[in-house]
């Protein structure tokens, strides 16, 4: 299919709905708190960094899904 080909509207609606569902799924992911109370160790520091990084990554995922939905 060429990029200029027309897209059937019904398919676009389904794609958008599915992409919206996936966006909601990712937005609903609850990450644990990055701080382990009372715990001071390399493990805790690495864990905290991993959770913060994961949170940022999920933000990028949501943006990519939103862009895909708008482009669909």
């Amino acid at each position: 299919m060429l990029p200029t080909d027309p897209v059937p509207p019904a398919r676009s609606d389904q794609d958008r709905a599915e992409l919206a569902r996936l966006e909601g799924l990712v937005a609903g992911v609850l990450l644990p708190a990055p701080a382990l109370p009372g715990w001071q160790s390399l493990t805790a520091i690495e864990y905290g960094a991993a959770v913060v990084e994961l949170g940022a990554l999920l933000g990028t995922v949501r943006a990519a899904l939103a862009a895909a939905r708008e482009a669909a």
Partner: protein
Amino acid sequence: MTARGGSGPSISGGGTIAVDTSAMTAAAHGLRVAADVLQEARSGAAWCRPARPEARARLDDAVALLGRAVADAERAEAGLRIAADRYGTVEHAVLDGQRMLAAGAAALTGGVLRTVFFTAGPGAAVLLGAGLVDVALVAGAARTVQHSLETGRLAPQSDPVLLRSLALVIASLDDGLRGAMLLERPDHVLTDDPGAPIGSEGVAAVLAALLLHPAGADLRLERTRRGAVTSPRSLAELADRLPDGGEPAGQVRIERYDGADGTRWIVYIAGTVTFERDSGEEPFDLASDVLGVAHRPSDSERAVLAAMAEAGVDPDEPVLLVGHSQGALDAVRVAEDGGYRVGGVVGFGGPTGQIPLPEEVPVLAVEHDEDLVPVLGGTAASGAAGLRRLVVRRSLPDEGYGPATSPATARFPAHDLGAYRRTTAAAEATGDARVEAFKGRIGPFLDGDRGTATRWRARRVLPVRPGPARTAVGGSGPRPSR
């Protein structure tokens, strides 16, 4: 290091774990759930193929990012679980080391006192012994002051540090005695055997015989209630059904379920009803506590066995034993010596850590760091025997003094059954694989089946005129198994 801020339970395969790894295991569980949801989103995104190339390109980006997110979450989860396991292993080693040091110090002290006794005379030995006790009391008082300043309340009975010290002292008393008699051997220091000659069980038996209500009186058993019941579906529900022994209905509840594969039973046993030395007709008393630790037939254990026999429990039918405090001790002793086909033991706040049960009997113990009662049996069994026992530990927020407790446990709120119920529910909510595995092993008892519940009250039959005191202490060796 102890995570004091977390209020969730830590779960271990045996013994006492001083390090509270609850925050780590809870975070690992949260990451596992997140990874599962992200994996579901990734699979859904991979199946979605929008027609527009720009949309497909964005979606491919999202799928790749989701794959990275899943991998990151799983890596962080695995790291936390490995760290928690390693902390647990190290703590086991530390606790074993503490116990060995205490046993060695006690044996040495006993030997020194003996030497002083024979070289400088009894007076010098008494003076030295009193001096050592004074040093211990001063150390305890200093720790109490420190704990009071930290918490704002005078409650040494809820201080985990003092409680751990008390457990070590209790577990080392027999080493001190053997040291004074020049009978201590290296294996006594390396491994704690409460049932050994002049072991802690023997010491407890002597104390019970000297100080407490004599055991062995005839018991009168009365069935007070009978009704329909649906079997529990969770561990927390087991705690809900434990009887209050102070109620007129009695100290034991027995549930019978007749399924297609035969009859099974759940026996719920109450805790100590009275701590009075002269406990009269109440068999769930302090003497039964001490005799249970001493591995002698206590009146409360005999009451449980009598109720089981009266209810019709057949020795070949599977039984789940559930108890709180003294009830937990009775449950373990019945599993050990009762001659029944025990399908599991669940104990809340019982002094049972030192009692290993056979591998085929799944055991779950729920204990609070601030609870005095679990330490009264001494230190928990270590090694393979200790690892067979699944332990859910929790350090209570505010040491249990925050939420309201029942009047019976007002001075010992960490021993409150309601607090134990909440800890058990929290442990189930973590989805920990070991808790789930335990629930799987006792699964037939938690199937929501319909059955019959009966309630039993046991009383001692008191002699009209004082007769010769009876005691269950028949020697220094352990009692024969029934």
